[in-house]
């Protein structure tokens, strides 16, 4: 049973970057779409983000993630193109539905921004091992307990998925109603979720005991088994991102 991670093991420049630099890239690219909100500019950021995905050899892996945001994107185009309050210039019509230039421009900006967000996140999560990222964050001062929570959720979810299979099978064989009236189906929810909660809470109790017995609450300084990786050009990359953001702000203020 693996861990819930989208990480793709590849050997690329992006994979060898400091997770914190990639995290900074996510923040910077999203911030840029707000500092300079013109569609052309956002498209530029999006282009660079896609370039990074290609350099990281994970472009194809990012497509399913982008696909997840399609509902939102469609909804944005239709509702804004059709109904935006500033709509005045008619662009084209599909039957009775009229699309306006103003609304579609707004929608274009929003869609590009969603894509930048999803793309930048993809760069981070497809090329970074979760435990590497958590360890970096702990060394930068994040509580090791929060780190523990994050890593254990990643392992827990696949286990939960397996549990779900077992429970639904068991309940089906006892004649659970997944069809029928809404009230019937709501009632069927309890025998499904009830055992899960009891199991989880029992496991929580036992696991807390086990963790206590392994010094989880020890007040002293913690050490790490894994040696710290050396990241190439770490400061340079981080510096570059900060400078770009500053330049963008200056541009916005002056221009």
């Amino acid at each position: 049973m693996g861990s819930m991670t989208l990480y793709v093991e590849k050997n690329s420049l992006i994979h060898h970057l400091d997770p914190l630099v990639k995290l900074l890239y996510v923040a910077a690219s999203i911030a840029l779409t707000y500092i300079l909100p013109e569609p052309l500019f956002i498209a530029g950021v999006l282009f660079i983000t896609f370039l990074l995905l290609v350099v990281g050899k994970v472009f194809r892996n990012s497509l399913p993630i982008v696909a997840l945001s399609m509902v939102l994107i469609f909804s944005l185009v239709i509702v804004q193109g059709f109904f935006h309050p500033d709509n005045a210039t008619e662009l084209f019509a599909i039957g009775p539905v009229v699309f306006y230039e103003e609304g579609l421009t707004v929608a274009l900006g929003l869609v590009l921004r969603v894509l930048v967000m999803v793309g930048a996140f993809s760069v981070l999560i497809l090329t970074t091992r979760p435990d590497e990222m958590v360890e970096r964050l702990i060394k930068k001062g994040m509580s090791p307990k929060i780190g523990h929570v994050i890593l254990s959720v990643l392992q827990l979810i696949p286990q939960m998925r397996a549990t779900m299979g077992k429970i639904t099978d068991a309940q089906r064989s006892r004649g659970m109603e997944t069809e029928g009236k809404l009230l019937v189906r709501i009632k069927a929810f309890f025998p499904l979720i009830g055992p899960v909660v009891l199991n989880s809470l029992n496991e929580t109790k036992e696991r807390s005991i086990a963790l206590e017995m392994r010094g989880f609450d020890a007040p002293g300084k913690k050490t790490f088994l894994n040696e710290e990786k050396i990241y190439p050009y770490n400061k340079q990359f981080a510096g570059m991102l900060v400078i770009i953001i500053l330049l963008a702000i200056v541009w916005r203020v002056i221009g």
Partner: protein, 279 residues
Amino acid sequence: MSTIEVENLKYRYPDTTKLVLNDLNFSVEKGECLGIIGENTAGKSTLCYALAGLVPHFYKGAYGGKVTVNGLVVRDHEIATIVENIGLVFENPFSQMTGAKQTVYEEVAFGLENMGLVRQEMHTRIEKYLKLLAVYSVKDKNPFDLSGGQMQRVAIASVLAMEPEVLILDEPTSQLDPQGSQEVFEVIEELTKGGMTIILVEHKMDKIAQYADRVLLLHEGRQVDLDTPENIFSRGDLTDFGLTPPVVTTIAKALGIQYPGTKLYPVTIEEFKRLGEDK
């Protein structure tokens, strides 16, 4: 001074009215294996928690008396300090995995990282205990991909790597299949031979008879008896406490095979055979 000293220990869980531990007094010597037996809800697990400091620090509740482990008064120290002296392994191997580590090797490292050991010392200890518990070959696997028996041995290795003076095993095989149980008992045998101080809670009486130097009989939170396995299992009233002696002892009773000049029956096959042949 004994490795473990328990004086007038009393305990009640929060929001309850019944004393789960009621005036316990005993001590355990270095290198000894103490068996603890008693029916369900007798308070065996709670006693283990009291030795490890989880009672009262983790559970809170009402506490009286004094427990000393390796010279440390449990009531007055944090669990993190106590665990460097006493380790606990319990039934469910699954919930004893931290859940945050990707490999068996890292899993064992968890406690050592918390203790703040230097890296070299960590590697030395991890290798040593993975080999001792015969799980070195799976060191790169995800802990949750192991069999129950392997997982339980990783749990034991993880606790032993912290090098406590005492190891508590609370029904360590009750959730394992026969194969897994066998693997774990082999380890327990090694450890008792190696002179580790062990507290063993077990429902399998033949295992208690085989490994324990002395046996503590608990019933409804009270200490009924503390004696050698032969003395405990030769008692006529064990069924009153919801217990049955090992099969060999029952057969020996039926056949009247006893230690000469005593009212004691053999509790292990080896002794049974020896006494039977003498007869």
